[in-house]
């Protein structure tokens, strides 16, 4: 019998095989070999690319190096989005490995945030966790935690320690027995087709009549364009962690099991591949 705990494990240990190539216009002293790496889906680009940076810096002159940034097929990759989300949103229909271009010049100021150090990633990650808990428990759980628990969450993510992370994170996933779920579900819905970065609204896991809300209910409510009409052709894929959960899946269950470490459900709406 498969247990729901295995889902957490599968989600955590999701990896995307990636090929990093240096941008052709970067000036190198000798030819830069592509660099192959398994990226954790749940982590952040700038957190797991130390090896990439080192690899390419070896072939470059010191003065040509400024802040590293990544780009896929012309789109700069936001480091503050989880890697899995970036992949699902931009590259899920293309062949593996995922080809990412590495840049050290011409930082796209209007598209990307600067990431001076890992502290920035930590600050971003923790603020997401806090925001999620504000939605789920009016911040009660995160506020009751000690500093070291917060640290353990972060260290768990940084060192890819599933046990370490979940030992604390499970508390964030609890809810009072008399309720049927969280207060609101922390989610963000991303679409490549719109200018808006993402959709985020207040949405409860349980309807007024006691019925559990499903993924479909959420989409109908906040992003009706993503859902195909009853008889119509399916135009979009609704993707989380590289899979397409059925629209009947209860939202509360999704939130508990398919959230990213930042405690948000990052849902990608992407056009149905035509092939």
């Amino acid at each position: 019998m498969t247990d729901d705990k295995d889902v957490l494990r599968d989600v955590w240990f999701g990896r995307i095989p990636t090929c990093f190539t240096l941008y052709q216009d970067e000036i190198t002293e000798r030819e830069a070999e592509p660099y192959y790496l398994l990226l954790p889906r749940v982590s952040y680009l700038t957190l797991v690319t130390d090896k990439v940076k080192k690899h390419f810096q070896k072939v470059m002159r010191q003065e040509d190096i400024s802040e590293i940034w990544f780009e896929y097929e012309g789109t700069p990759l936001k480091w503050h989005y989880p890697i899995g989300l970036l992949f699902d949103l931009l590259a899920s229909s293309s062949a593996l490995p995922w080809n990412i271009t590495v840049h050290f010049k011409s930082f796209p100021e209007k598209d990307l945030l600067h990431c001076p150090s890992k502290d920035a990633v930590e600050a971003h990650f923790m603020s997401c966790v806090k925001e999620a808990d504000a939605l789920k428990h009016k911040s009660q759980v995160i506020n009751e935690m000690q500093k070291k628990d917060h640290k353990q969450l972060w260290m768990g993510l940084q060192n890819d320690r599933f046990d370490q992370f979940w030992a604390i994170n499970r508390k964030l996933m609890e809810y009072p027995a008399e309720e049927n779920g969280f207060r609101y579900i922390p989610f963000r819905i991303y679409q490549t087709t719109t200018e808006r970065p993402f959709i985020q609204k207040l949405f409860r896991p349980v309807a007024a009549d006691g019925q559990l809300h499903t993924l479909g209910d959420l989409l109908k409510e906040v992003c009706p364009s993503a859902v195909a009409p009853e008889d119509g052709e399916k135009k979009n894929q609704v993707m989380i962690h590289g899979i397409e959960p059925m629209l009947e899946t209860p939202l509360q269950w999704l939130s508990e099991h398919l959230s990213y470490p930042d405690n948000f459900l990052h849902i990608s709406i992407i056009p149905q591949p035509t092939d």
Binding site: D3, L37, W166
Partner: protein, 1181 residues
């Protein structure tokens, strides 16, 4: 927690129940009658129906209520005819009772009432005190009365034999009229109120109840001899009262309050075990003189009352010593009536809306609760309305009657007018009489016969339209309550939501109500047809603090919550969405990883260290708990495997030292909770041999649980043990009730190279049990200390294992109750008699059973912080040896053997006090309600036999000693469906079923029984064969494997049954195998495992040790010696699921090499050593 039910009566006299697990009122199965009062206990409900007769509704159960009738046949020897029926004139009757004084011919023994039936004909009992007699069952003596023996001697002049016959109570799940066979002149007049309680006064006889009733004439009656085996009781006794009673309430224990006509309350004093009827009355005045008490309700330690102005009152200071309490406190709300149920929970019926209210927040520390919350559960939209058209007429009778019965209690002003009607004769009162009630003209049609339901409808419709003459636009009942007899309110209340739109039927006046009767009846109950209640009883309804009730919200459609507590796989687990997620994740992993495994990982695995502060028991000087720093270092090897080391840093004599433990060597982590410390013991094979674990303690329970969960997870990871235990797993239980499970390695039962059992890895499962039994098809059952039966759900974790160490589903709340015992000791002296002044050399006057430890009532704490007291101290009368009326046992001196009566030579006495405590935890267990069990056994599957289709045989003994066979047990439904009762002539204690359907059992008299002809097609077999116990020994447990039969006696001797063959499965004799055994489990490979009483290790002695019989071979089923495993507080083991036969090996010669001695040694170590072992042993029982 088992489901239990709240009973209620609606305005039409229909009885409904509401399950604590349900969300709908269910109509009582037997709907032939309408009731005006019900009073429920757990297993039955008493009621007064509209015919003023008393009825009892005994809930159905798989275990029958059966009683043994006994008669003795007596014969005397004479030289002519030998033993014959010619007795001497001075002799007893030829057929008599056991004393011989009463004539008792077999055909003269009659059934007590229509509700009983004979189970079979009379037959001769051939069991004589555990020994089988000769055929014919005769026992011999020199003369009547004398001591009888089995054997005929030269001087045996008389003989007798015992005939037995069983009768069965058959009227279950139906209202059985209490027969009134007493002299008609002494018949109690029609009853007006009734209350059931007293089940906590004593356990003897089983299910004893106090049933009290009040007649219309204001007399109080007590029903004699009501108990589980005699649900109807025997006769009514009149109790003298100093006034006219109108209502009565009897609590579960010794509280009994009565409402008097004049508005005071009567309180019964002196109710106790020896005198459940009590001895005297005291009077309690009402809270205010102008409004007398109308209604009282009592619990174990609470009294609630309602005064005539409908105000609710709580009585302060009520307890066993002061049943009258001290003062009244007014509570919020206005109620028609209140009722106190189990755990002193309170229900009431609202004055305004006639809804049933539940008092929320009633806890032992806050008995008055917090708020009233209306139960909005709806009735199942049933068809009973249209079905009961005939009985509706009698419902009308009931209301006619209620006018009088209750009216007199609450409407003093009415008494003059209707005093004649209030004193009806024994014949059913004609309701029309009450129509004369002058107050409200509307009454004249409202309470007429046959109009009850329709009247309501018509009034609803008519009154707004026609403006039936009334003084006011309907004064609220709260404002002028005293003026309104209950019936008025009964019928007026429905108008609260009158449908004004219905004014289109102005011609439907009250007078035409009879014509519309059929119309009203056929109306389906609509959604807003809220039930209106007349009476509620919670005496059978167990609501506890942690229970979640679904009564307070309306549910549409069939909710999944009903199915939530059933073991069949819930829809959520089989739902398509769930399957798809699992499937897609697997596909994703394949797609994204399969071809790229050679890629480098972005994040290198590193060492992770968890540090903390614990206390560590220093095994050597200074022999005390030391504060230590601990660090758990986890690292990942090249192959991805994890391993961990636990470092314990300590300082002795300012010298820094450390010890370390490799977690892959740890064999068990055992929580050792006691009053003071949250500690746990850590075993390795080495330390198991030494009987000397590493002991660590944490500052808080949470801290300990975190460490235990983490260490346990690390141990499991390093051994790659994960998830649900395999079906072959070996289960065991410690004396603390903790459940452990071990995966058997294939060579565990390999006779050639036996895996030493101290190397077995035990991991803990959540839950609290006393017994666990498993079989290799994954069916696992447990029994709690409170005899609750549990079935394993397939989950893991729970208890202190939260988060990752626990499965998401299949973990449920589990509770257990056990008693703590202390002893009050006294010595006799010539001046004061027995007193608590002992000799200086005596034991403590309040002590534990040994007398070595002082245990006072105030100073004794629950066994650990997990437990909380749930009762007060009470004398335990059920101690072996018997007690006198006050619970004392006498002896010549401490310590000695005690007896239950005083003799000249007895200088000391003691009595046992018990106090119940309760633990609430969680684990992968679901209750198998409602029958409590004492023992259980599941058929071990023969090795190699695959599930052959038919269900899995499971036998059990109920806590009362009934033998039960479970039907419908399978892998998919491990809880089975129902019990099949297997009749026995005496209570049983232990049972075991072997792989070939050999069922063996041990009776409470210590003898064994074999059940013949049990097979898949005849699951209960046909008859018992009596097997004598070993000479001078009383057996207590039996275990049957593939072919081997082992039994254990009360002195710790283990016996092997010799001569068992397929054609003669009973065997021939018992052969001694070993002493020092506490529990035995024989598996499907005929492997023998026991819990040994005492085992001396190199450092310490441990009690309760898992041992494995070595050298067991087909030609040597008794084996040769013992191999010692985990120990120190182990109580129970089940190896009956392990059918993993070792791979065939060439040499079978080395068997039994490890330890060759016969019998388990309990080496008498030097006194200091063994004492130390006792006091320091990790889990002292």
């Amino acid at each position: 927690m088992p489901d239990s039910a709240l009973w209620a009566v609606d305005l039409f006299g229909r009885v409904y129940t509401l399950s604590t697990a349900g969300q709908y009122w269910e109509l009582c199965k037997d709907t032939q009658l309408e009731f005006k009062r019900v009073s429920a206990a757990t297993q039955c409900c008493w009621g007064i129906a509209c015919d003023n007769q008393v009825y009892v509704y005994v809930c159905a159960s798989d275990v029958p209520i059966r009683r043994q009738e006994v008669a003795y046949e007596n014969q005397r020897w004479n030289p002519v005819g030998g033993f014959c029926e010619k007795l001497l004139p001075s002799d007893r009757w030829l057929w008599s009772d056991v004393s011989g004084l009463q004539h008792r011919p077999l055909d003269g023994v009659a059934l007590p009432s229509l509700h009983w039936e004979w189970e079979s004909d009379w037959y001769v009992d051939e069991n004589f005190g555990g020994e089988p007699t000769e055929k014919g069952g005769w026992t011999y003596a020199m003369d009547f009365p004398a001591t009888y023996t089995r054997d005929k001697k030269w001087n045996s002049c008389v003989r007798r034999r015992r005939w037995i016959r069983y009768r069965r109570y058959k009227s279950r799940d139906s209202w059985a009229k209490i027969p009134s066979k007493d002299d008609p002149k002494q018949l109690p007049d029609p009853f007006n109120d009734l209350s059931v309680g007293g089940w906590e006064i004593t356990d003897e006889p089983v299910g004893r109840l106090s049933v009290w009733a009040v007649s219309l004439q204001g007399k109080v009656w007590y029903r004699e001899d009501v108990s589980h085996p005699n649900p109807e009781g025997s006769s009514w006794s009149l109790m003298d009262t100093p006034g006219e009673a109108v209502q009565i309430s009897c609590g579960p224990h010794d509280l009994l309050w009565v409402t008097l006509w004049e508005g005071q309350a009567l309180v019964r004093e002196g109710i106790n075990r020896n005198n459940p009827k009590g001895s005297s009355w005291s009077v309690v005045e009402p809270p205010t003189s102008e409004n007398g008490i109308m209604h009282v309700a009592v619990g174990v330690g609470v009294v609630w009352a309602i005064t005539k102005d409908r105000k609710v009152w709580f009585r302060r200071g009520v307890n066993s010593h002061n049943p009258c309490g001290t003062s009244w406190i007014e509570m919020v709300g206005e109620m028609m009536m209140v009722n106190v149920g189990l755990n002193d929970q309170v229900w009431g019926i609202g004055c305004e809306d006639r809804a049933v209210y539940f008092r929320q927040g009633v806890t032992p520390s806050e008995l008055s609760g917090k708020t009233w919350k209306a139960i909005v559960a709806s009735r199942e939209c049933d068809r009973s309305h249209s079905g009961s058209s005939l009985s509706l007429l009698s419902a009308g009778c009931f209301f006619g009657d209620e006018v009088r019965g209750s009216g007199e209690s609450c409407v003093p002003s009415d008494t003059d007018a209707s005093s004649d009607a209030e004193r009806p004769g024994p014949d059913p009162p004609v309701p029309a009489e009450s129509l004369d009630c002058p107050r409200n003209p509307k009454d004249s049609f409202a309470s007429g016969p046959g109009t009850s339901r329709t009247a309501e409808h018509t009034v609803e419709v008519a009154s707004p339209a026609t403006q039936t003459p009334r003084p006011e636009p309907r004064p609220g009942p709260a404002s002028t309550p005293a003026e309104l007899p209950w019936t008025n309110i009964d019928l007026k209340e429905p108008k609260k939501a009158p449908s004004y739109s219905a004014a289109g039927f102005p011609e439907t006046t009250g007078l035409s109500s009879l014509e519309v009767l059929p119309l009203g009846l056929e109306e389906p109950c609509s959604a807003d047809d809220r039930p209106l209640w007349a009476w509620v009883s919670g005496g059978g309804c167990a609501v506890e603090a942690h229970s979640m009730l679904k009564w307070f919200s309306v549910h549409s459609g069939l909710s999944a919550s009903v199915q939530m507590l059933s073991l069949s796989i819930t829809p959520a687990q089989t739902a398509a969405w769930r399957k798809q997620i699992f499937q897609q994740l697997t596909e994703r992993t394949k797609r994204e990883l399969e071809n790229f495994r050679h890629y480098e990982q972005a994040v290198e695995q590193s060492v992770w260290v968890k540090t903390g502060t614990l206390q560590w028991w220093c095994n050597w000087k200074p022999h005390k708990w030391l504060d230590v720093r601990v660090a758990l270092e986890q690292f990942t090897g090249h192959d991805g495997a994890r391993d961990s080391i636990l470092f314990i840093y300590y300082v002795v004599h300012e010298e820094k030292k450390y010890i370390h433990v490799f977690l892959n060597e740890v064999t068990a982590l055992v929580p050792v909770l006691n009053e003071a410390k949250h500690s746990f013991a850590l075993y390795t094979p080495e330390r198991t041999r030494q009987r000397w674990p590493v002991r660590l303690a944490a500052a808080t329970e949470q801290d300990m649980n975190d460490w235990l969960a983490l260490l346990s997870l690390s141990c499991c990871e390093s051994r790659k043990v994960h998830g649900r235990p395999s079906p072959q797993a070996i289960w065991s239980i410690t004396c603390k009730g903790d459940v452990f499970v071990s995966e058997p390695s294939p060579d565990l039962e390999d006779p050639a190279h036996l895996l030493p059992c101290d190397q077995m890895f035990w991991r803990q499962m959540g839950g609290h049990l006393r017994v666990v039994e498993a079989n290799s098809r994954g069916v696992v059952w447990g029994i709690g200390y409170d005899h609750t039966a549990w079935v394993y759900t397939g989950g893991y974790g729970g208890g202190c294992f939260q988060g990752l160490a626990s499965s998401t589903s299949n973990i449920y709340t589990q509770s257990d109750v056990k008693s703590v015992y202390i002893y009050e000791n006294q010595r006799w002296n010539p001046v004061t008699g027995y007193s608590s002044r002992g000799l200086p050399t005596d034991r403590y006057m309040w002590s534990d059973a040994t007398g070595l430890q002082e245990c006072t009532k105030a100073g004794t704490k629950p066994p650990s912080l997990q437990w909380t007291w749930v009762s007060d101290w009470s004398v335990d009368f059920s101690v072996p040896g018997g007690t006198d009326q006050e619970g004392w046992q006498y002896a010549s001196d401490f310590p000695a053997s005690y007896h239950g009566y005083k003799t000249m030579k007895d200088f000391v006495r003691r009595r046992c006090w018990a106090r119940k405590c309760k633990l609430v935890t969680s684990g992968p267990w679901l209750e198998v309600a409602p029958i409590a069990l004492g023992d259980v056994s599941i058929i071990p599957e023969s090795p190699g036999a695959s599930g052959n289709g038919h269900s899995i045989a499971l036998w059990a003994i109920s806590d009362k000693g009934d033998v039960l066979c479970r039907l419908g047990v399978s892998e998919l439904n491990p809880a089975g469906s129902s019990w099949l009762h297997v009749g026995t002539d005496q209570p049983f204690a232990s049972i075991s079923i072997g792989a070939c359907y050999q069922v063996w059992a041990v009776a409470r008299d210590g003898s064994a029984f074999y059940r013949g002809s049990v097979s898949p097609s005849q699951p209960a077999g046909d008859s018992w064969y009596h097997i004598p116990s070993p000479p001078r020994q009383r057996l207590k447990q039996v275990s049957v494997g593939q072919t081997s039969v082992y039994a254990l006696d009360t002195n710790g001797n283990l016996w092997y049954r010799q001569g068992v063959t397929p054609s003669y499965p009973q065997g021939s004799s018992w052969e001694h195998v070993s002493n020092n055994v506490r529990h035995v489990s024989v598996g499907p490979l005929d492997q023998v495992w026991v819990i040994a009483n005492k085992v001396q290790g190199s450092h310490s002695l441990s009690r309760g040790t898992v041992c494995h019989r070595t050298g067991v071979q087909p030609h040597e089923p008794k084996g040769q010696g013992w191999d010692y495993g985990i120990g120190g507080g182990w109580d129970h083991i089940s190896v009956r699921a392990n059918a993993t036969r070792a791979p065939r090996s060439a040499s079978q010669e080395t068997a039994g090499e490890r330890s060759g001695e016969q019998g388990l040694p309990s080496r008498p170590a030097q006194v200091a050593g063994s004492l130390q072992g006792l006091s320091l042993g990790p889990i002292c029982c």
